[in-house]
Structures are given as structure tokens and as C-alpha cells.
């Protein structure tokens, strides 16, 4: 059996999404900006996709949802755009973020620091989220932007976005949220919340890879990242990825349609898996269930190094993660585990299991069996649980 429990890294494309995209590769391949019929015959599907996106996020018609290549691009655009518009040669010099953001935010902030921008990385509490009163303390008249993720990719923990947006509104500071792990998993209503910018990516909600978006409230100015042929109303140049946009629109509509399913069925499966995981000795799950996206578990299994665990799971056809997939080639421990102040020995034992609406009961049952076997085998190898005579002065 093959089981995919790495849905926070990427997801399967829903076959219904793929079916909508397919005609736009070989049959209707025109450039939407062309005058001829080849171009214009893509327009109805593109218009429908844009409707699906506006509807899915409940964005107002006077807002912009600009199509980008991915959330990394969207995040870069907001941070660098705000730098050009409000910091470079202007009176502001400060950006606030959290220490558990995705590298698309952290690395871009580090880059802006080399250009003289002051960045505050807000600490998180033991649940892995920021507390809003700390945010208040750091906003000054020099603050240009607050950027805080909606849901954390490692833990699934939801951040207090409504409160943060209110604080930003009251203090007149722009607010951006990287909502990659939230869109399609929990309800998002951009008419209700005061969010200036919001990033998302189709492949996290059963759409294709290589397509994402940036929501811009009230169509407010933001210096483009891509200059060129004035596509997307001049906001983001580059020939439109027609099948990608169509796929993203369809994927978001399906995800929103399935939000109840996500919140009930996926959550139930996740909770069942979590119950079984918690039956093991010496395990620790980050954050309480109702404060997380319904699909995510980040668990530390004492005595088992994360990569060894992934190895045993993979050998049995189960895909999981020790943390951010982007970081799988380096030797660093799980950054979120470190940020939440977990004991140092837990930082190397993190295992992330992330489900989707395609995950089945049988898959979870199978995973529980394999996981138990893996824990048994690897703890038998582990020095953490090994014998030592009384006289031995253990250094482990």
C-alpha cells in the first residue's frame, strides 16, 4: 500500500481539476492577450477561474487577485514591493514577522536586512504561535509592514489573524499573511477581515504546481516584481499560465466546497491517527487539536531520529516529513521545534504527518500498524533506550 501523508508539502491534483485543465494544453493553447480566436477562446474559462478565486476567498470586486507562479513569488513581491514603496528613500524602515515563517518570508527578510531594513522576528509561545500583545509592543511609526503566516506549515497551528489584522488597522500598518497552509483547509473571508495582502498556492489545495496568487486589498499600489508586457493589468508581467489558472480556480472552488468535509472527515481521521500515535510511550504532539488546521500532526517520538523514521515509513510506502521539505537536504533540526523551545533532544525527533481529503480510513489503519512497527524497530536500535551497566557514566 502507498500512503501519502505529506500534504503540507504538496498535494495530488484532484482529477476533476485536471479534467478542466486538459483542453487548454493541446486544443486551446492560444495566448489570452492575442486578438485572434485562438487567444480569445481561452477567455471564458479564465473569467470563470477568476470568479472561482474571488468567490473562494470572498474578495471584493474592487480588490485584486493577481496570479503569480507560486506563494514564494507572492511573498517576495509583497516584501520587496513594500521596500520600494515605503522604505527605500521614505521615512519607514521596519518590518515585523515571526520566527517560524516559511523560508520564503524569512530568507527575503534576511535579504532586506542587508539593504538596511530593520526586521523584528516575533518569538512564539510553547504552542508555536505569536501572542498578539507582543506584536503591539513592537509596532512603531517606522513600521512599514507586518507579515504573519495564517497557519504554520510544520505544526498546522493557526495564528490569531483577526486580532493581528485589527491591531494593524488601528496602528495604520500594512498587513500581509502567507496563507499557503490555510487556503482550502479553513474558511477564509477577506470581506470580513482587514488584510492588505495574502499569498496562496494552488498545489497545496489539490491544484497544479507552479501557480499561485497574491490578493491585494482595494487594488492598492505595489511596485511590481516582474516588469514586462503589462499582463495582469500591469501588476505582474508574463504570459498567463492558462491551464494553471483554470486549475487553480477549479481547485479552490472544490476545496471550499469540501471545507465541511475537511473539518469533519479529515479531522476525524487525523484525530484517530493522533490518538493512536499518543498511545506510544514518550511522544509529544505540538499544539492542541482545535487550534490547528484539521489535517496536520507534528509529533516528536523520543529516541528516533526523524530521517530514520522517514526511512522506515518510506520502505513501507508511507510518505511523511521531518519538517519543511525545502530543508530536507541540510542537517539542521526542525526550526519550529527549536522556536517553540522544545527540549533540544526533541528537535531531531520531529515527524510531520499531514492528511488530505483523499486520505482514507484504510490508509490511516495501515499507517498506524507500520508506525508502531517502525517505532519498535528503531527504538530497539536506539542508544536512548539501550542497556548500560551500573558503573557506566552515561554521556548520552
Amino acid at each position: 500500500m502507498r500512503v501519502y501523508l505529506d500534504n503540507n508539502a504538496t498535494t495530488i491534483v484532484d482529477p476533476k481539476v485536471f479534467a478542466q485543465m486538459e483542453p487548454y494544453f493541446v486544443q486551446m493553447y492560444g495566448n489570452p492577450n492575442s486578438l485572434h480566436d485562438f487567444g480569445s477562446e481561452t477567455h471564458p474559462a479564465l473569467r470563470k477561474a477568476m470568479d472561482q478565486l474571488y468567490c473562494g476567498l470572498n474578495a471584493d470586486d474592487k480588490d485584486d487577485i493577481v496570479i503569480t507562479s507560486c506563494a514564494t513569488e507572492s511573498n517576495n513581491w509583497v516584501l520587496k514591493g513594500v521596500y520600494y514603496d515605503h522604505i527605500l528613500g521614505k521615512d519607514k524602515d521596519h518590518i515585523i514577522t515571526s520566527e517560524v515563517e516559511h523560508p520564503a518570508i524569512i530568507s527575503t527578510c534576511k535579504f532586506l536586512e542587508t539593504l538596511g531594513v530593520k526586521v523584528t522576528y516575533l518569538p512564539v509561545n510553547e504552542k508555536g504561535i505569536i501572542e498578539t500583545h507582543t506584536l503591539k509592543n513592537f509596532i512603531t511609526e517606522k513600521t512599514a509592514l507586518v507579515t504573519i503566516m495564517w497557519a504554520n506549515n510544520e505544526t498546522g497551528m493557526l495564528f490569531p489573524i483577526e486580532e493581528i489584522s485589527k491591531i494593524c488597522k488601528e496602528t495604520g500598518v500594512l498587513f500581509h499573511s502567507d496563507a499557503v497552509q490555510a487556503v482550502g483547509k479553513i474558511p477564509i473571508d477577506l470581506k470580513k477581515l482587514d488584510i492588505d495582502f495574502l499569498s496562496f498556492s494552488a498545489h497545496k489545495f489539490h491544484g497544479p504546481k507552479g501557480i499561485g496568487g497574491l490578493y491585494i486589498k482595494d487594488s492598492q499600489p505595489l511596485t511590481p516584481l516582474f516588469h514586462g508586457g503589462e499582463h495582469m493589468g500591469g501588476r505582474r508581467s508574463g504570459t498567463l499560465d492558462v491551464p494553471g489558472i483554470i486549475g487553480m480556480g477549479e481547485a479552490l472552488e472544490l476545496a471550499v466546497h469540501n471545507l465541511d468535509f475537511e473539518n469533519n472527515n479529515v479531522r476525524k481521521l487525523r484525530d484517530k491517527l493522533e490518538d493512536e500515535v499518543l498511545k506510544l510511550d514518550d511522544v509529544f504532539v505540538v499544539g492542541s487539536r482545535d487550534e490547528r488546521t484539521p489535517n496536520t500532526i507534528l509529533v516528536s517520538v523520543k529516541g528516533i531520529e526523524g530521517e530514520a523514521m522517514l526511512w522506515d515509513l518510506n520502505k513501507n510506502g508511507i510518505a511523511a516529513s521531518t519538517g519543511s521539505a525545502c530543508a530536507s537536504e541540510d542537517l539542521e533540526s526542525n526550526p519550529v521545534m527549536e522556536a517553540i523551545g522544545a527540549e533540544a533532544d526533541l528537535a531531531h525527533t520531529a515527524l510531520r504527518l499531514s492528511l488530505s481529503r483523499f486520505t482514507t480510513q484504510e490508509e490511516i489503519d495501515y499507517t498506524v500498524v507500520i508506525l508502531n512497527d517502525a517505532v519498535k524497530r528503531l527504538r530497539a536500535i536506539s542508544s536512548t533506550y539501550s542497556y548500560a551497566p551500573d558503573w557506566h557514566d552515561s554521556k548520552l
Binding site: 529516541g303 528516533i304 531520529e305 526523524g306 530521517e307 530514520a308 526511512w311 518510506n314 520502505k315 530536507s328 537536504e329 541540510d330 542537517l331 539542521e332 533540526s333 527540549e343 533540544a344 533532544d345 528537535a347 531531531h348 525527533t349 530497539a380 536500535i381 536506539s382 542508544s383 536512548t384 533506550y385 539501550s386 542497556y387 548500560a388 551497566p389 557506566h392 552515561s394 554521556k395 548520552l396
Partner: protein, 330 residues
């Protein structure tokens, strides 16, 4: 960065079949208890290395015949990734049947080599080399325990990276053996600098006596000089077809001159707040090698820069490289 680096691969694809097999089925995994050892008239040794908080830890058990000092049996337990388990397993295997003194000589390179499927392909990707280093360290800990001495007595042991307990000797060796050029490579090979990062360069959260950036620079200079002196020795002994300085290509000449400046000239200038850079190097029609330099910092206005200092620089280069060198400040 080039074609093969652009789409990241899975490090698992770079594990040898042996590593994978040992990960799935470690052969020497287990414990030796006090009772088991005593029954066979053997001495039990238990040694630990690493820590869970570092991401790797290993416990090594030896049953040693005290009359012959032969390690009759070896077992391990390991907290770590697949390569850590495979390396520990291989290390335990290599210990068996050897005397304690022979076992001390087993290095991480022996361990890694033993896990190769064929002699030319590394058993693990560079960032996983540290797993075999741990196997090497735990042997020393076991031998130290057996002999009742301190593990540090087995070598020079100036510890540069305390998180990963990597010594100055190890770092210099790894740079020389593997021809490393960057601090990142040192970190991948030894794990030095992978944790608190204080030992990479000054300014970390802890002050250190040695920093990787300096060790790298000094060792590279040393390597250049060793190469040069080996060449010179060979020339004196008449045993070489190697080229002398005058027959070098321009790039080789530049490198040799740079190395000589780094070793004997630059430190002198820097002490007085100055420095120099090489602007160009040219062979003249008369058979000389002209080196054009520019003084920097305090040197640039210094009166002796066109007299005493210049003379000193030229003599050093004549001595170190070739009598035909002329130094021309611009």
C-alpha cells in the same frame, strides 16, 4: 551550482546499497551485558559518543580479552539517521578481532570506505560524512576507557567545534585530504559549525580561540607551500619532471606568488596597518617576470614602500619563487 545541482536530489539516492542494507538490517546492533562478558572471561567496555540534542548518539559495547587485548565481540546502539546506524554497524564490525591498539587506528574514512559498493563511489553524500566521524570518535572513547586514559590523549585534540567536538587536527586533515575550499564543505564533512555556529567566524554568541575561516585560510596557504616545497625538493633531488617556476603557466605563477605573499609578506604589512594587491603579472621579452602591485592602507603613503619594503618584498619573492622576478609598484 551547475546543471546537476539545480533540481535538488534526495540524499537517499546517494546512499550505497551497503548503507541501505545495513540500515534495514544492522548486523551488530545490540548490547553486551556485564553477565555475558563475565561468563566468557572478558572485560566489558561501554562507551558513548554524541547526544540526542546534536542529532546523533552512539553507544559502543566491547568484550575484550584482557590477556591478548583482542576485542572478541562488538555491538552498538545508535540514535541517528540511516547513515549513522550503518556507520555504527560497520564500525562495530571493523573492531571485531582487532586488538584495542589496532582498533584506535580505524578512522571514519575506513568506515566510510567499508560501506562503499565500489571503491570509486562514496557510500554517503558529503553532508552525511559526519556520521562516520562519530563512529571513529566512539572507538577512541572505548579505547580510552579500556586503557584508563583520557580519550584526548590519543591525539593533538584542540577542539574547534565543541557542539560536534571536532578537533583542529581533524579539520586540517579533512581540508587537506578532500581539497576543501569553503567553510560549508568543512561543515558538511565534519559537522563543525553546524550547530551554534560560534566557531565559523568571530561574532557568534561565544568567543573561540580558533575559527573555521582562519583555519581554512591557513591550511590552504600551508597546502600551497607544501606543494611548492615538494616541487623544490624534487628539483634539488633531480627526481622530477615537474616544472620550475620559470616554466609555470601564468596562472601557476600567480598562485605561487600569491602563496608566497600570503605566507611571508602580507602578515608583515598587515601588522603595520597596510596591505598590497597584485594587479598583474607579465613575462617580459628579456626573460623576467614582472609583478605589478598596488599598496593598500598605511603602505600606500609610506616612504619605505618604494625603498626598503619594496626591496624586502622582491627579495622574498626571488627567494621563494624565482630570481627573475621584479616587483613594480603602481
Amino acid at each position: 551550482m551547475a546543471k546537476n545541482d539545480l533540481i535538488g536530489g534526495s540524499i537517499w539516492e546517494e546512499y550505497s546499497q551497503k548503507v541501505q542494507d545495513l540500515m534495514n538490517n544492522p548486523q551488530n546492533m545490540g548490547e553486551i551485558t556485564e553477565d555475558e562478558a563475565t561468563k566468557q572471561g572478558l572485560k566489558l567496555i561501554v562507551a558513548d559518543f554524541g547526544a540526542e540534542s546534536c542529532g546523533d548518539a552512539v553507544r559502543l559495547y566491547w568484550a575484550v580479552n584482557e590477556k591478548t587485548n583482542v576485542i572478541q565481540d562488538a555491538k552498538f546502539k545508535s540514535f541517528g539517521c540511516g547513515t549513522a546506524i550503518a556507520s555504527s554497524d560497520t564500525m562495530a564490525d571493523l573492531c571485531k578481532g582487532k586488538t584495542v591498539d589496532e582498533a584506535i587506528k580505524i578512522t571514519n574514512i575506513d568506515v566510510e570506505f567499508a560501506m562503499r559498493d565500489n571503491p570509486d563511489t562514496p557510500a554517503v553524500p558529503p553532508q552525511k560524512m559526519h556520521c562516520s566521524v562519530m563512529a571513529y570518535d566512539v572507538i577512541k572513547a572505548a579505547a580510552a576507557s579500556y586503557k584508563g586514559v583520557d580519550a584526548e590523549s590519543f591525539e593533538d585534540e584542540i577542539i574547534v567545534c565543541e557542539c560536534a567536538r571536532v578537533s583542529l587536527g581533524t579539520i586540517k586533515d579533512v581540508i587537506k585530504i578532500n581539497d576543501l575550499h569553503t567553510v560549508e564543505e568543512i561543515t558538511n564533512y565534519t559537522k563543525a559549525g553546524a550547530f551554534c555556529k560560534s566557531c565559523i567566524k568571530p561574532g557568534g554568541h561565544e568567543d573561540k580561540d580558533y575559527y573555521l575561516v582562519d583555519i581554512l585560510k591557513d591550511t590552504r596557504t600551508e597546502m600551497e607551500m607544501e606543494k611548492m616545497s615538494a616541487l623544490a625538493d624534487a628539483k634539488i633531488a633531480g627526481t622530477t619532471n615537474e616544472l620550475s617556476f620559470d616554466d609555470f603557466t601564468m596562472v601557476q605563477k600567480l598562485k605561487a606568488v600569491e602563496a608566497a605573499i600570503d605566507k611571508d609578506i602580507r602578515p608583515m604589512l598587515v601588522m603595520d596597518g597596510g596591505n598590497l594587491e597584485i594587479l598583474d603579472i607579465k613575462d617580459t621579452d628579456e626573460g623576467n617576470t614582472d609583478i605589478y602591485i598596488r599598496y593598500l592602507g598605511a603602505c600606500s603613503g609610506c616612504a619605505s614602500s618604494s625603498t626598503g619594503t619594496l626591496f624586502a618584498i622582491e627579495s622574498v619573492l626571488k627567494e621563494e619563487c624565482s630570481q627573475k622576478i621584479r616587483v613594480l609598484p603602481i
